[in-house]
Symmetry: C2
Subunit: 236 residues, 2 copies
DNA sequence: GAGTGGTCTAGACCACACA
DNA sequence: GTGTGGTCTAGACCACTCT
């Protein structure tokens, strides 16, 4: 796969940070030196450095250089858009997904609002619970516009829907509005989660948009309170 | 105050979006047209557009243009680092701050870890509760390194500490690691919050860093569950 | 074929850090 | 005074979309 020069530089530096060639609290080579090393122009080097900065790998200090941040301290970034599969693999724990429902529905008023569609638009509804170490602690309810996702099967839902959407269908997921609130448990939480006496769940609501700024998914991810954790790296 | 050209362009376009001169779902002028209009170079225009994109104002669509997003849909962004004062003014509600404690302490082991300092470093501890419409629903516990904040008074804590730090002291806050979890209420929550029968609080933990990547603050913001809301705009 | 945004280049000037 | 990063310029080529 062909890459852009600045992305290649970015990835090479990320690699050097991860493998300890560049150590936390030390300085990266100066922009001038990177220009020489990668035989490119300064703006290109700076694009790579900006990416590193945005992703929390380095901190640029005016007139002094770029210093490497301790990524250990910023571990477990659920920020951005990350699927359960990705999180699960990072956590290195036994996980399992149970599909409770997969159907084509007509959106009610709430869903018409969330997905910005009319009542005749067809929508996939997927309900899945997620087990970590044999406890069902997350209930995911996904709604996808059929317009963009012609086919969904139980097998796909069992695995990673996102992998399928991006890989097989070539959908280009671009951004999301994420909202986190706490709600009282409803009957579904009680039915599908090992709720363990808690009467509230943490709900992460996502409106997900494709690359042409068209929404294609609304999701509610309902977490058992005690197991919920959200980490973010925010620049001012 | 002198501004950079790309920031000026950014701000002018933000203004035009907010005042409806550029409408949601319509296209911005092309980069070429913006270059002509602002009499600048294309890379400079593109820096402005990148800012707009990062802040959720526009979506760039390859080979087609930049379209304006509906910022109404992405309201109330507590993402990034925002102080209570800023949030309060946006919400347009009656708010009040009560300072319960302001003292210089020696950090315990937990705090030494969070602030990456030794046991002899002096630390300001500030405990405040936040009232919205006469209900105490947030308990803020802040720890500042005295090294960077020589003086704190009750008056400052009553207002906006951040305004003081950035305005008076000229501290340059750069980034933060933010973590959201749910915890059981402790005695302080029960003492200082109108806890209203809830036995858990949503805790937002922040490690805040200055522009040289040196940490200077650790904060816990403890929210009554039913009033907690966190909204984020995340790009893939 | 005209227009678009994505990338890249090879310079330039600036203000400030540091020694 | 040297080195640093921040900003800006005036081009260029590309691959694709739209009409």
């Amino acid at each position: 796969m062909k890459q852009n020069k600045y992305k290649l530089i970015y990835e090479e530096i990320v690699e050097k940070i991860k493998t300890g060639i560049y150590l936390p609290k030390t300085k990266l080579p100066s922009e001038h030196e990177l220009v020489a090393h990668y035989e490119t122009s300064r703006e290109t080097v700076r694009k790579a450095l900006n990416l590193l900065s945005q992703h929390g790998y380095i901190q640029k200090i005016h007139r002094k250089g770029s210093i490497v941040l301790d990524i250990q301290k910023f571990d477990f970034p659920i920020s951005g858009l990350v699927s359960f599969k990705e999180i699960a693999s990072k956590m290195n724990k036994d996980t399992d997904t149970v599909v409770h429902e997969l159907s084509l529905i007509k959106p009610d008023e709430f869903l018409q609002g969330q997905l910005s569609v009319g009542k005749d638009e067809k929508v996939w509804k997927v309900v899945r619970s997620r087990k970590i170490e044999n406890e069902a602690i997350i209930l995911d309810i996904d709604y996808f516009l059929k317009r963009y996702v012609p086919l969904l099967t139980k097998e796909i839902c069992q695995g990673s829907i996102y992998e399928y959407l991006e890989g097989e269908l070539g959908l280009d997921i671009s951004f999301a509005k994420k909202e986190i609130v706490v709600e009282k448990c409803n009957q579904f939480d009680k039915e599908f989660l090992d709720i363990d006496g808690y009467d509230h769940v943490v709900v992460v609501k996502n409106n997900v948009y494709l690359d042409h700024a068209n929404i294609f998914q609304y999701t509610e991810s309902r977490h058992r309170m005690d197991k919920f954790r959200f980490v973010d790296f925010a620049r001012r």
